[in-house]
């Protein structure tokens, strides 16, 4: 997908001494839903604003549907935005808000009313057409904002943390509704969020952003299975992380000395290199059937319905996180338990960029 529907190439932006965006490349295909996931200050909103045309990049190019739009003003881009604060026009009614974009583009009046009606129905807000914006709840405002952005038939829809002001229950409903709606309308969308669950639930692909760079751009499953960097490992999902030093390296495998003992992992490092070993909690089994073995004491167990989250502490002080279907029979606080995981499930990173 070198020449995607949307392609951002080498986008960079600095504010004074702070580099907010450090040469970002992003390419997406038509109809795709990509999340920009990262902590606050990682540059995800800046990237969104550059794509929308609300901010000029210092360097780099933005192309949409085969046209270079780097210098095109926002109102000529066909890129709609749903803002975090929704930014609905307080002096207009719900229907007038939705009609705004069509009127601004000079659509004939005969087309505007049916289109507004159709999109208000899509977001289940038909009953509120003549209400004032102030009379709506947060979730309702969010729906109006989505309808207003979609009714103009944008090439690209950008969503800037649109659910962050909603409570958890409502947020989960809205996530499902929004994803279904976007599939129906067939819109290409970029979704900015700092909530990994939201990103994992909704996206075709996730771009994990950190310090103005995209650390990894891949499907949710692949990002979870094979995080490309220590940051991606830490930010997306839970993990156990053990620092160590390579002692042996041969045939694409290394042996790493950690505080909790020697570990085997796939990778090419020179002996002596500082590295970080990572493993996902559900990949650890509570016996010694695999190669990488540890013995640790149970510190805490958190019941989570279908699964139990077990927090262990190794005698050397390392924290180990295990997710198991049930609490092991022999387990009590302080009980030493055996655990192990396979070489395939052992993630290996250079330690210099350990997060």
């Amino acid at each position: 997908m070198a020449d995607g529907f949307l392609s951002v190439a080498g986008a960079a932006k600095t504010f004074g001494a702070a580099t907010v965006l450090d040469g970002v490349d992003l390419s997406m295909s038509r109809g795709e839903f990509i999340s920009l996931l990262g902590p606050s200050g990682c540059g995800k909103t800046t990237l969104l604003r550059i794509v929308a045309g609300l901010m000029r990049p210092d360097q780099g190019k933005v192309a949409l549907d085969g046209e270079d739009i780097t210098r095109r003003p926002p109102h000529k881009r066909d890129v709609s935005v749903v803002f975090q604060s929704y930014a609905l026009f307080p002096h207009l009614t719900v229907a007038e808000n939705v009609a705004f974009g069509l009127k601004a583009r000079g659509a004939p009046a005969a087309e505007i009313a049916p289109a507004v009606g159709r999109f208000l129905a899509l977001v289940q807000m038909s009953a509120y057409a003549d209400r004032s914006i102030k009379a709506l709840s947060g979730g309702q405002q969010q729906r109006v904002a989505v309808a207003r952005a979609l009714v103009v038939g944008p090439k690209l829809l950008l969503l800037d943390e649109p659910f962050s002001a909603l409570d958890r229950k409502l947020r989960e409903t809205m996530q499902i509704d929004l994803k279904r709606l976007l599939r129906e309308v067939g819109t290409t969308a970029i979704f900015v969020t700092h909530d990994q669950d939201e990103a994992l639930t909704m996206s075709d692909r996730i771009a994990v952003m950190y310090k103005g760079r995209i650390e990894q751009l891949d499907t949710p499953a692949e990002i979870y299975r094979q995080p490309a960097t220590p940051f991606a490992l830490e930010f997306v999902g839970l993990s156990t992380r053990l620092p160590g030093k390579v002692t042996e390296a041969a045939d694409g495998f290394v042996t790493v000395a950690t505080e909790s003992g020697p570990m085997r992992a796939k990778g090419n490092f020179l002996p002596g290199s500082p590295v970080l070993i990572g493993v996902r909690p559900e990949r650890i089994v509570l016996d010694h059937s695999h190669v990488n073995r540890i013995e640790a004491r149970l510190v805490d167990a958190a019941f989570q319905g279908a699964r139990v989250q077990l927090h262990f502490q190794s005698p050397q002080g390392g924290q180990i996180l295990v997710e198991a279907p049930a609490l092991p029979a022999a387990a009590g606080p302080g009980t030493p338990l055996e655990m192990s995981w396979s070489v395939e499930d052992t993630l290996l990173y250079p330690a210099s960029e350990a997060a």
């Binding site: 930014a87 307080p90 601004a104 207003r148 952005a149």
Partner: protein, 278 residues
Amino acid sequence: MNSARRIDPVILLALPAVLYLAVVYGVPLIVLLGRSVMVGGMPSLSPFISFLSDPFSWTVIWNTVRIAVLVTLVCLFIGYPTALALARAGGVAQALILVAIILPLSVGVVVKAFAWQIVLRRDGVVSQFMTGLGLWSEPQRLLFTEAGLVIGAANVFVPFMILPIYSVLKLVDPRLGEAAATLGASPLYRFFKVALPLSLPGIVTGIAFVFSMAASMYVIPNLLIGDRFQTLATLTGRSFLFMRNEQLGSTTAVVLLVLTVAVVVGSAALSKRLGGAS
């Protein structure tokens, strides 16, 4: 009926201001109003009838309204962009603009009017500038003309247009303009459909301020246009100070009062309606 209505004790905090205004403003106003409708100790509307049946009076009223409207328009066209710039500017730039607007308020209006006398003279800066550019074939005097009066008065009153508009604009979410832009609205469309409607309450307040001050200004017309040109305010002053005709002075004062109160109350009602819609 037991005491169904209780007075909110907080309202009592307004008491000092109410007492002060009652003594220094309310009482003289009542005396003035009373005098305007009393002839020889008997209540009568004849002063108003004779005032309004005199064509000269209508010239004076028209002068007052015309100059006030012109000054208000000039202030609006200069003030609105300034208020917009002030609301958009950040940090040092905003502070500098704000100082530039507020600091001149500390200069007395007499001083300003005298300064404009010098600027607007036949050999003043304006005349030299225009003839120098070749726009005027010979030096002209703007002093003692209506144009000169409007320019000078607008200079004095423009902060009272800028500040209310600015205070409304700065509360408008900048995301609204961005949202409009991403929906395909050109800058002009955004201004007329988003920024302007949302700032209307500020505009109405600014108009009320400037119109009422421009309609009742006394010192500025005296210094910039002179006696040949009478407004309700200058005529009121003349009646009391030079003609010793307290009857006429009371009448013109009341006409002026009714005129400005109508504009202020009308615009306040308009502002409330617009504010309610936003």
